[in-house]
Assembly symmetry: C2
Protein backbone atom coordinates (compact mmCIF):
# COMPACT_ATOMS: atom_id res chain seq x y z
CA UNK A 1 0.00 0.00 0.00
CA UNK A 2 1.24 3.43 -0.90
CA UNK A 3 2.34 5.19 2.26
CA UNK A 4 1.71 8.65 0.97
CA UNK A 5 -1.96 8.06 0.28
CA UNK A 6 -2.48 7.76 3.98
CA UNK A 7 -1.46 11.28 4.87
CA UNK A 8 -4.37 13.09 6.39
CA UNK A 9 -6.71 10.15 5.95
CA UNK A 10 -5.88 8.50 9.25
CA UNK A 11 -7.17 11.58 11.01
CA UNK A 12 -10.46 11.08 9.19
CA UNK A 13 -10.52 7.38 10.09
CA UNK A 14 -9.97 8.12 13.77
CA UNK A 15 -12.59 10.86 13.84
CA UNK A 16 -15.11 8.66 12.03
CA UNK A 17 -14.70 5.74 14.39
CA UNK A 18 -14.92 7.99 17.43
CA UNK A 19 -18.02 9.69 16.09
CA UNK A 20 -19.83 6.42 16.63
CA UNK A 21 -18.29 5.22 19.88
CA UNK A 22 -15.56 5.78 22.44
CA UNK A 23 -12.40 3.78 21.80
CA UNK A 24 -9.01 3.48 23.42
CA UNK A 25 -5.84 3.91 21.37
CA UNK A 26 -4.81 0.31 21.02
CA UNK A 27 -8.34 -0.60 19.95
CA UNK A 28 -8.25 2.07 17.23
CA UNK A 29 -5.00 0.63 15.91
CA UNK A 30 -6.59 -2.84 15.67
CA UNK A 31 -9.76 -1.58 14.02
CA UNK A 32 -8.03 0.57 11.46
CA UNK A 33 -5.49 -2.15 10.72
CA UNK A 34 -8.26 -4.31 9.32
CA UNK A 35 -8.48 -1.99 6.36
CA UNK A 36 -5.39 0.20 6.27
CA UNK A 37 -1.87 -0.78 7.25
CA UNK A 38 -1.03 1.25 10.33
CA UNK A 39 1.35 1.13 13.27
CA UNK A 40 1.04 2.29 16.85
CA UNK A 41 3.75 4.86 16.35
CA UNK A 42 1.40 6.66 13.99
CA UNK A 43 -1.74 6.61 16.09
CA UNK A 44 -0.49 7.76 19.46
CA UNK A 45 1.12 10.98 18.27
CA UNK A 46 -2.01 11.64 16.18
CA UNK A 47 -4.25 11.17 19.21
CA UNK A 48 -2.09 13.51 21.25
CA UNK A 49 -2.22 16.13 18.54
CA UNK A 50 -5.99 15.94 18.18
CA UNK A 51 -6.46 16.00 21.92
CA UNK A 52 -4.36 19.14 22.09
CA UNK A 53 -6.59 20.67 19.43
CA UNK A 54 -9.62 19.87 21.59
CA UNK A 55 -11.18 17.34 19.27
CA UNK A 56 -11.22 14.78 22.08
CA UNK A 57 -11.55 14.41 25.78
CA UNK A 58 -10.04 11.40 27.49
CA UNK A 59 -10.67 9.21 30.50
CA UNK A 60 -8.92 6.18 31.98
CA UNK A 61 -10.53 2.84 32.67
CA UNK A 62 -9.08 -0.22 34.41
CA UNK A 63 -8.59 -3.34 32.35
CA UNK A 64 -8.32 -6.97 33.40
CA UNK A 65 -6.06 -7.69 30.44
CA UNK A 66 -3.26 -5.20 30.89
CA UNK A 67 -2.57 -1.60 31.85
CA UNK A 68 -5.42 0.94 32.12
CA UNK A 69 -6.98 2.00 28.84
CA UNK A 70 -7.19 5.61 27.80
CA UNK A 71 -10.50 6.22 26.09
CA UNK A 72 -11.18 9.07 23.70
CA UNK A 73 -14.52 10.88 23.35
CA UNK A 74 -15.25 13.29 20.54
CA UNK A 75 -16.09 16.84 21.57
CA UNK A 76 -18.52 19.01 19.64
CA UNK A 77 -15.55 20.50 17.85
CA UNK A 78 -14.39 17.00 17.01
CA UNK A 79 -17.76 16.09 15.55
CA UNK A 80 -17.74 19.20 13.39
CA UNK A 81 -14.21 18.46 12.23
CA UNK A 82 -15.25 14.93 11.31
CA UNK A 83 -18.14 16.23 9.19
CA UNK A 84 -15.96 18.73 7.41
CA UNK A 85 -13.11 16.33 6.83
CA UNK A 86 -15.31 13.58 5.44
CA UNK A 87 -16.94 16.01 3.04
CA UNK A 88 -13.49 17.11 1.92
CA UNK A 89 -12.50 13.49 1.48
CA UNK A 90 -15.43 12.59 -0.77
CA UNK A 91 -14.94 15.74 -2.79
CA UNK A 92 -11.24 15.06 -3.15
CA UNK A 93 -11.75 11.47 -4.29
CA UNK A 94 -14.24 12.47 -6.95
CA UNK A 95 -11.90 15.18 -8.23
CA UNK A 96 -8.98 12.80 -8.48
CA UNK A 97 -11.08 10.12 -10.11
CA UNK A 98 -12.42 12.41 -12.78
CA UNK A 99 -8.88 13.59 -13.47
CA UNK A 100 -7.39 10.14 -13.85
CA UNK A 101 -10.38 8.73 -15.71
CA UNK A 102 -10.66 11.26 -18.52
CA UNK A 103 -10.83 8.90 -21.45
CA UNK A 104 -8.95 9.59 -24.65
CA UNK A 105 -10.37 8.09 -27.82
CA UNK A 106 -7.12 8.39 -29.77
CA UNK A 107 -5.47 5.64 -27.78
Amino acid sequence: MNIQFKKGVLELCVLSLLSRDDYYGYELVKKISNNVRISEGTIYPLLRRLTKENYFETYLKESTEGPPRKYYTLTKKGHEAKEELSNEWYDFVSRVNSLIEEEDISE
Copy 2:
Protein backbone atom coordinates in the same frame (compact mmCIF):
# COMPACT_ATOMS: atom_id res chain seq x y z
CA MET B 1 -8.77 21.45 0.31
CA ASN B 2 -6.86 19.27 2.72
CA ILE B 3 -3.19 19.36 1.79
CA GLN B 4 -2.39 15.98 3.25
CA PHE B 5 -4.86 14.11 1.07
CA LYS B 6 -2.73 15.00 -1.91
CA LYS B 7 0.38 13.14 -0.81
CA GLY B 8 1.18 10.53 -3.39
CA VAL B 9 -1.88 11.27 -5.45
CA LEU B 10 -0.26 13.91 -7.61
CA GLU B 11 2.15 11.31 -8.87
CA LEU B 12 -0.84 9.25 -9.97
CA CYS B 13 -2.43 12.29 -11.63
CA VAL B 14 0.72 13.07 -13.58
CA LEU B 15 1.20 9.45 -14.65
CA SER B 16 -2.44 9.15 -15.69
CA LEU B 17 -2.40 12.26 -17.83
CA LEU B 18 0.87 11.27 -19.46
CA SER B 19 -0.42 7.77 -20.15
CA ARG B 20 -2.78 9.36 -22.64
CA ASP B 21 -0.64 12.08 -24.16
CA ASP B 22 2.64 13.94 -23.92
CA TYR B 23 2.45 17.14 -21.90
CA TYR B 24 4.89 19.80 -20.79
CA GLY B 25 5.17 20.77 -17.14
CA TYR B 26 3.31 24.04 -17.18
CA GLU B 27 0.47 22.36 -19.05
CA LEU B 28 0.25 19.62 -16.42
CA VAL B 29 -0.04 22.25 -13.72
CA LYS B 30 -2.94 23.90 -15.55
CA LYS B 31 -4.73 20.62 -16.24
CA ILE B 32 -4.43 19.27 -12.73
CA SER B 33 -5.39 22.63 -11.26
CA ASN B 34 -8.83 22.25 -12.79
CA ASN B 35 -9.57 19.55 -10.26
CA VAL B 36 -6.95 19.68 -7.53
CA ARG B 37 -5.27 22.78 -6.12
CA ILE B 38 -1.61 22.53 -7.08
CA SER B 39 1.37 24.82 -7.47
CA GLU B 40 4.35 24.78 -9.82
CA GLY B 41 6.73 24.31 -6.93
CA THR B 42 5.15 20.90 -6.43
CA ILE B 43 5.10 19.67 -9.99
CA TYR B 44 8.60 20.46 -11.19
CA PRO B 45 10.44 18.60 -8.44
CA LEU B 46 8.01 15.70 -8.91
CA LEU B 47 8.75 15.58 -12.64
CA ARG B 48 12.47 15.62 -11.97
CA ARG B 49 12.15 12.77 -9.50
CA LEU B 50 10.08 10.63 -11.84
CA THR B 51 12.42 11.34 -14.72
CA LYS B 52 15.32 10.22 -12.58
CA GLU B 53 13.43 7.01 -11.84
CA ASN B 54 13.04 6.44 -15.59
CA TYR B 55 9.29 6.82 -15.72
CA PHE B 56 9.65 9.52 -18.37
CA GLU B 57 11.74 10.61 -21.24
CA THR B 58 11.81 14.26 -22.19
CA TYR B 59 12.24 16.40 -25.29
CA LEU B 60 12.24 20.12 -25.94
CA LYS B 61 10.01 21.92 -28.39
CA GLU B 62 10.07 25.56 -29.47
CA SER B 63 7.09 27.72 -28.58
CA THR B 64 5.82 30.96 -30.10
CA GLU B 65 4.41 32.04 -26.74
CA GLY B 66 7.46 31.87 -24.49
CA PRO B 67 10.49 29.76 -23.69
CA PRO B 68 10.88 26.23 -25.11
CA ARG B 69 8.59 23.61 -23.61
CA LYS B 70 9.90 20.46 -22.04
CA TYR B 71 7.62 17.58 -22.94
CA TYR B 72 7.37 14.36 -20.96
CA THR B 73 6.71 10.92 -22.49
CA LEU B 74 5.93 7.86 -20.42
CA THR B 75 8.33 4.96 -20.74
CA LYS B 76 7.21 1.34 -20.46
CA LYS B 77 8.22 1.45 -16.82
CA GLY B 78 6.12 4.58 -16.41
CA HIS B 79 3.08 2.90 -17.91
CA GLU B 80 3.47 -0.04 -15.57
CA ALA B 81 3.86 2.27 -12.59
CA LYS B 82 0.71 4.07 -13.60
CA GLU B 83 -1.27 0.83 -13.72
CA GLU B 84 -0.01 -0.29 -10.37
CA LEU B 85 -0.51 3.05 -8.70
CA SER B 86 -4.06 3.48 -9.95
CA ASN B 87 -4.98 0.01 -8.73
CA GLU B 88 -3.53 0.90 -5.35
CA TRP B 89 -5.50 4.11 -5.37
CA TYR B 90 -8.86 2.44 -6.00
CA ASP B 91 -8.14 -0.20 -3.43
CA PHE B 92 -7.11 2.40 -0.90
CA VAL B 93 -10.22 4.52 -1.46
CA SER B 94 -12.53 1.56 -1.00
CA ARG B 95 -10.74 0.53 2.18
CA VAL B 96 -10.99 4.00 3.64
CA ASN B 97 -14.62 4.35 2.63
CA SER B 98 -15.63 1.10 4.22
CA LEU B 99 -13.77 2.08 7.35
CA ILE B 100 -15.40 5.46 7.74
CA GLU B 101 -18.74 3.96 6.83
CA GLU B 102 -17.98 1.17 9.30
CA GLU B 103 -17.89 -2.15 7.63
CA ASP B 104 -14.69 -4.12 7.96
CA ILE B 105 -13.34 -5.31 4.64
CA SER B 106 -12.15 -8.50 6.31
CA GLU B 107 -15.73 -9.75 6.74
